[in-house]
Symmetry: C2
Subunit: 608 residues, 2 copies
Amino acid sequence: MISELKRFLIGRPLKSTELGEQKINKTKALAILSSDALSSVAYGPEQILLVLVTISATAFWYSIPIGVGVLILLTALILSYRQIIYAYPHGGGAYVVSKENLGMYPGLVAGGSLLVDYILTVAVSVSAGTDAITSAFPSLHAHTVGIAVFFVLCITILNLRGVTESATVLAYPVYLFVLALFILIGVGLYHIATGQVSPTLHSPIGTPVAGISLFLLLRAFASGSSALTGVEAISNAIPNFKDPAPKNATKTLIAMGTLLAILFSGIVWLAYYYGIAPKDEVTVVSQIAEQTFGRSFMYYFIQGTTALILVLAANTGYSAFPLLAVNLAKDKFIPRMFTIRGDRLGYSNGIIFLGLLSIILIFAFKGKTEHLIPLYAVGVFIPFTLSQTGMMLKWIREKPTGWLLKLIINTTGALISFIVTMMFFLTKFTQVWAVLIFLPLIIILFHRIRKHYDAVGDQLRLATCEPVKPIEGNVIILPVAGITHVVENSLNYAKSLSPHQIIAVYVPFEREDEVVFEEKWNKWQPDVRLVTLHSPYRSIINPLTKFIDTVQRKASESNYQVTVIIPQFIPKKGWHNILHNQSSLLIRAHLLYRRNLIITTVPYHLKK
Amino acid sequence: MISELKRFLIGRPLKSTELGEQKINKTKALAILSSDALSSVAYGPEQILLVLVTISATAFWYSIPIGVGVLILLTALILSYRQIIYAYPHGGGAYVVSKENLGMYPGLVAGGSLLVDYILTVAVSVSAGTDAITSAFPSLHAHTVGIAVFFVLCITILNLRGVTESATVLAYPVYLFVLALFILIGVGLYHIATGQVSPTLHSPIGTPVAGISLFLLLRAFASGSSALTGVEAISNAIPNFKDPAPKNATKTLIAMGTLLAILFSGIVWLAYYYGIAPKDEVTVVSQIAEQTFGRSFMYYFIQGTTALILVLAANTGYSAFPLLAVNLAKDKFIPRMFTIRGDRLGYSNGIIFLGLLSIILIFAFKGKTEHLIPLYAVGVFIPFTLSQTGMMLKWIREKPTGWLLKLIINTTGALISFIVTMMFFLTKFTQVWAVLIFLPLIIILFHRIRKHYDAVGDQLRLATCEPVKPIEGNVIILPVAGITHVVENSLNYAKSLSPHQIIAVYVPFEREDEVVFEEKWNKWQPDVRLVTLHSPYRSIINPLTKFIDTVQRKASESNYQVTVIIPQFIPKKGWHNILHNQSSLLIRAHLLYRRNLIITTVPYHLKK
């Protein structure tokens, strides 16, 4: 039944050879690879206002200089990533760049942050998408967590079925979202230009604000830089571009940066001009849209495309996480199961793991986007910093033509990313301290897993020279519980393996029982040696293991192998199992962990 | 670690021979066996008032005639059970009496009701005990369920350690409770006699009451008869009495009946005279005690002993349930695991099962005693009716001297019990309908379990004549995943069993892999046949089982046995298991359910 449900949800299995690679053109690539970055404008500007509102509404004008700061940061990042694209045309994820240039541990820090970050991508994007919906339909607000979890489940199932990132259908929502925001910004600016918006809604830029501090402004800047999450996506996906891939990827990167800059500036400006204050239950974008269009068709169009692109952004987590997991698993830092392709050729274990953890995060943070974002942004800026630093070292080491300019660009990128990371730790410590605990733990775990796999590899590798000593013979121990067909069946098998070295073992709880059974046995199987082990404490395992110890000791002297044959009762129906004391399973589980003991299960299938 | 926790909570294992039987004298027997019955007065009278209060406080005087009715019922039951004691000196539980005299199905109805009933005994007694505590300390009222569950856990652990019913320490609370209630009733009556209680608190007997109906009175009577639950306990425990057992048991029974009658009448009378109305958060006994003594030492003494005797009454469920379960399991109506004595010689499975189910009941009914009682009472009166009816048939069949009187007594008992049962169904249907569904389900389950055990017995019994055909030889299939020490180890074992009939099976996912592996193998083990099964769908199980099918078909033609050897990787630490794809376990689980296939696990223990 479970397998039928699986078939229904996931679809029929696919052959390995059905795995094809599709090259995508720039227009499609722009749409597909920038959903994560572009969707960030749905929550980034709001994060700035959320910090400023703690002072007063007068402080909102600071969002303009802060926005300019974010744009500078964006420019630096785009230029830096442009260089990474040319330097790593096979995909320059932060893990690869850091590992190659900075060494294993920085690579692991980047890899670990990114793993966590992709989980947060899903949680943040889905939560923000849910916010867009509940802003439009306030009655749904009580069900935020439920809606978000439902989205995660849907995306997880779709990915298990195998939605490839290259599906054309996924491109539409991105362009629709860009179109919707362009219309919003255009109409908004037109309203402002034609004087339809009262200029008294906001305090003019430069108004002195009581209680403002550099600390607070840095904090607002750090928060606003969460709008830049996702800009690294293109640099990871260069092999998917049509040739010349690096050139096409660069063009796409610049187009994305431009779009992101326009959308971000537009939203920040409109929010400032309209004097919008962040509210608990309505997003800033929703407020702008409502003020511009009222609750008209356009309003719902903007909210709908926002929700869609955010869910799509979550989907990018589903393509990035399993791929990174495969890379880490191939380097033996995480369990090997992440390298297995499922029925539909997706890396199912990674997909399921990602879905589960993001659901846990959504529950833990009750679907509150603003509480998830600081963690998310730190998780993004740590690998940003590391990969830019890696590029710096690369230029210094390799010194290609024009390396100085390249070095300066990446140094700027690294510095700014580092400063933003530090700002998060300094200004939002209460929200991001967990990174300082979990990141080292993850690195330690990576390290220990690698150590284990290395040790196992060493032990399994065949030292070509010395062959193992052949086994001289077999001693078979057969625990029996009565004189029945089950025992007869197992005994028959034992005789076929080693006719003269069989020891039947009976564990009676009562002395009387012992004598009676021995008599019966000797009448039935006079040729097979029976050993009875009286067990006053009614345990079967203890006397049995002690006895096996003794036999093993003797057997090993003459290089004999000891095998325990366990008769296992297989009832016709699953529920019947509860009606039989599962001694066989218990005995097997106990004996399996003993050295050098071989365990054979002889099933006895009941016919009714 | 789990086993250490178990050792700490439950204690060291005991030898079977440490199981001794202790005979107990009348005084102790009275205390130990009547805790269930006597404790019922803590909630019985309240149940009458709970029905009457639905009309008006004026109707409370009806509790007096209803109380008289309950006393008549008590007398009939005591007389009937007196006869059961003499007729079944080895213990006349309702299951035994019904099964012997009425046949299997009535026996099962009685047995099934009793099983459920013992669970309810625990739930009701513990809930009522918790009520006694929360009446004294109202601030605890919010934690009713928590306190009740805590009590159940304590009693369960104590019983797993092996508290025998005969522990002298258990006798004190019963006598203290009787003493406490005697003082309460005595002082209450003295206050009334000396005119310290205003006679205007209650309406005189005979006052006409608007809206009273026969239906309501019957309902109140049925509710009140819940005070009689537990009177059967002595008749089940006759073998524990000192000789002459039946005579001593009878005397104890009559003493218990007398005590119960006095306590019940006293409480009913005081409640009536004081004009006490049942309250949600304070029990009737607590109200009487407070009115008589104020919140003095005596008040807390009464509440304390009430709580104690109720917890003790729950404990009687723990001795009765496992014993009944053993009887039913010996008759093959419930799983055999209920017959196994645990480390401390108690029937652990029964004890744990009882504890779990009563906790579930407490949660389901939120610890509300008055909602549990109707189910409890029905569960008691069904077996009462059946065992009395059984006795009727016994007298008619056997006709001993003076059988007519005996017949009349048991007939009266059966009739009254039957009427009370019917009253529950007629007047409290909304609360007891579940019995009509669960009881038949339980009987069907009993029946199917019995059928299964019988079928298994038939299949296992050795037909003495024909011995099984010996196995001619063994074919060994060895799934391999690479060329490692693990495979070498298993192959070495396989060679010791059947050197010339080994087939190594390799399941590659890619065509290229196939060729490479075959070459390597032929260099390494040129003597061992290798079969490669290319699996385009990346499943190991499917191609392997198909291959095994083919081999089995051929092997069976010449009476060869097929064995699959599965190498199993045993890492040094438990958590390492997650780092290895558990293909061995999966393969084993799949193959075990195939007919006639023997599965051998060759463990390979990692050293680091």
